[in-house]
Amino acid sequence: MKSLSFLLIEDDEIERMKFQRVFSKLGKRHTVTTALHGEEALETITKGIIPDIILLDLNMPKMNGIDFLKHFKKEEHLRYIPIVILTTSNNYQEIKNCYKEGASGYIIKPLEYEEYAERIKFLVTYWEHNEIANL
């Protein structure tokens, strides 16, 4: 099984903890980097840490999720990286808009932590089974 690098862009501390906790329990060789918001994520990437998959929250300070998505998909050398949205919003327009702007997935954070853990496991498994256009 190949090793995947995830970049989680999330301003909420508990949310980052939730993701990492689920991740560490998976016991896989994948890595997780976190960024507090869009700007920090871009900085990380320009430093040369290019993730295989980006997980993106929508409600964030500074650069919000949609703005980051738009910006990112304009970058010729980055736009191939899949971005999966992780949010609480089930608003139809928002979902449509994210896919329109090039999102590769849209996962709603459920209330129950157990359910959340399930979804993240599925997410990781899904990408493990996908080919990644890594250079």
Partner: protein
């Protein structure tokens, strides 16, 4: 002696000669006279002929005159009448004698005498306009021009008159004047301004128009349309005016401003119509001007209010949306944290602590459901959903699988529910909330919820009947309000029925209920067809 005789003889001879000469002169003269006489006779004949000719010619002219002609002596006795005159008065001059005095309408006698005096004094009168009697005692209105006729020594011997029957004309004129007056009363008293213009200047206008602008008549007559208009409004009329000139339209209406004397501005609906001559060229323009300043202000106010409302509505929706999401996130954190407590400290926590954590989780769930409700409620009329045919039978059957139904309760559908036009999501919310409500308040051993329907031309009507606890009269109005639930229940957020009400309103329907405490409740609601 002989001398004397000689002298006498010579004298006699001279005398004879002289006589002979005289005779020959006389003869000559007689001949001349004869010739002259002959000439005279012939010219007299010619003259008589001529005279006869002229007389008959004149008679022909008189008879063929459309107007009546009368010749009378100085005392008013009629000597001659032409055909038209005979026809007008009904008398025949050849068989009866008439004096013009007998023809005068009694009320006009004084006026007639004045005119006669004028005739005698000045030799004529003109434009006499009065009434006369005909032989059959009908009254007619006539117009007369008359003049005196003099003999060779300058003494008036007769008078002649040309009479025109203007009875019909006068009547027509009267009707016309009447109508004109009526029309002018209407125009003058019209509450809308009316102005007649030519080449941009005011020709005529009514009181209302004048009052609208605040100018007096003389001021306004010196002014042009441009003087009371705003240049910014010209473009809106320009295209219409072109069409009016081209003859493709005869009338147009615009809303424009007018500048009043006191520099105030009046908004007016102005309807401009063209008055054309025989060649279809515009002779005048008629403008009908209606003050709509108040309406305009109201309209502007309405527009502003609507904008404000839309804005605050959007703000409210955005607010509900943002708040809901901001509230949702911490709840997810709380749920995770409680879970971690239980997971990481399962060995340390006693039963009481575990119970507290369980209750805490439930409260978090309740809070999440509330927020979800608010979000649903605020987005009912916001998001345009796909309209399609929705099979309600399938929809309700699906709901039965989704919601929690206690084992003692059954939902029955006696008659297969219709397929209606609407959006799946809203209709599901509608039925789900009502059914959820119904199954939540049943205290009977065997609970029954029945879904049925009927229809009118315009609406579908649905009935959802349960044998639950019922709703007291005093609560019946309140239950459709947001956050009103009859009792605190784990299942109820207090938003369900307000969502129902909002969806029904969205489909232009009504919702009401009948309930008996202890017996059960029936909810009724309608949905407009094809809305």
């Amino acid at each position: 002696m002989t001398d004397k005789i000689e002298i006498l003889q010579r004298a006699l001879e001279r005398e004879r000669k002289a006589r002979k000469q005289a005779e020959s002169i006389l003869e000559e003269k007689a001949l001349e006279l004869y010739e002259l006489n002959k000439q005279l006779k012939s010219s007299n004949d010619t003259l008589t002929n001529l005279n006869q000719q002229q007389t008959s010619k004149l008679k022909g002219v008189f008879d063929s005159l459309v107007d009546a002609y009368i010749l009378m002596d100085i005392k008013g006795n009629i000597i001659e009448m032409n055909t038209a005159a005979k026809k007008l008065f009904g008398y025949n001059i050849e068989t009866e004698k008439i004096n013009v005095v007998n023809l005068i309408y009694k009320e006009d006698i004084q006026y007639a005498m004045q005119s006669y005096t004028h005739l005698i004094k000045h030799g004529f009168f003109q434009n006499y306009n009065a009434r006369i009697y005909t032989k059959s005692k009908h009254v007619k209105r006539v117009h007369i021009n008359a003049s005196l006729i003099y003999d060779s020594s300058g003494i008036p011997t007769a008078a002649q008159g040309i009479i025109r029957d203007i009875t019909t004309e006068t009547k027509k004129q009267e009707i016309f004047e009447n109508q004109k007056q009526q029309l002018s009363i209407i125009v003058e008293n019209s509450p809308v301004g009316i102005a007649l213009t030519q080449n941009g200047t005011f020709i005529e206008f009514n009181k209302a128009f004048q009052q609208l602008l605040g100018y007096d008549t003389d001021e306004l007559k010196k002014m042009t349309i441009k003087d009371v208009s705003f240049e910014e409004d010209f473009p809106s009329s320009a295209a219409y005016l072109k069409q009016l000139d081209a003859g493709t339209i005869n009338r147009f209406t615009v809303s424009k401003r007018y500048l009043c004397k006191d520099q105030s501005i009046v908004w007016a609906k102005t309807s401009v119509g063209a008055v054309r001559d025989k060649n279809h060229n515009i002779q005048y323009q008629v403008a009908i001007v209606e003050d709509i300043t108040e309406e305009y202000k109201q309209e502007q106010l309405k527009k502003q209010l609507l904008l404000d409302l839309e804005k605050s509505n959007n703000e409210l929706n955005d607010f509900a949306h943002v708040i809901s999401h901001d509230l949702k996130s911490p709840l997810r954190s709380m749920n995770a944290l409680i879970y971690w407590l239980k997971e990481d400290y399962s060995k340390v926590l006693d039963e009481n602590a575990k119970d507290i954590l369980k209750k805490l989780t439930l409260k978090v769930s309740k809070m999440d459901a509330l927020i979800g409700g608010v979000l649903d409620y605020s987005s009912i009329d916001k998001v345009q959903q796909r309209q399609e045919n929705v099979n309600l039978q399938l929809l309700v059957n699906d709901i039965k699988k989704v919601i929690f139904i206690p084992k003692n309760i059954t939902i029955t559908i006696p008659r297969k529910l219709p397929t209606i036009f609407g959006d799946q999501y809203r209709l599901q919310q509608l039925f789900q909330n009502i059914l959820n409500n119904a199954v939540s308040y049943i205290d009977k051993e065997k609970g029954i919820v029945e879904v049925s329907f009927s229809e009118t031309n315009t609406h579908w009507e649905f009935q959802i009947k349960d044998n639950g606890i019922g709703i007291e009269k005093r609560h019946q109005e309140k239950i459709f309000e947001v956050f009103q639930s009859l009792e605190h229940s784990e299942h109820s957020t207090g938003i369900g029925l307000s969502i129902v009400k909002k969806i029904v309103a969205f489909y232009e329907g009504k919702i009401w209920l009948q309930s008996k405490v202890g017996k059960g409740t029936t909810f009724y609601f309608t949905i407009k067809k094809n809305s």
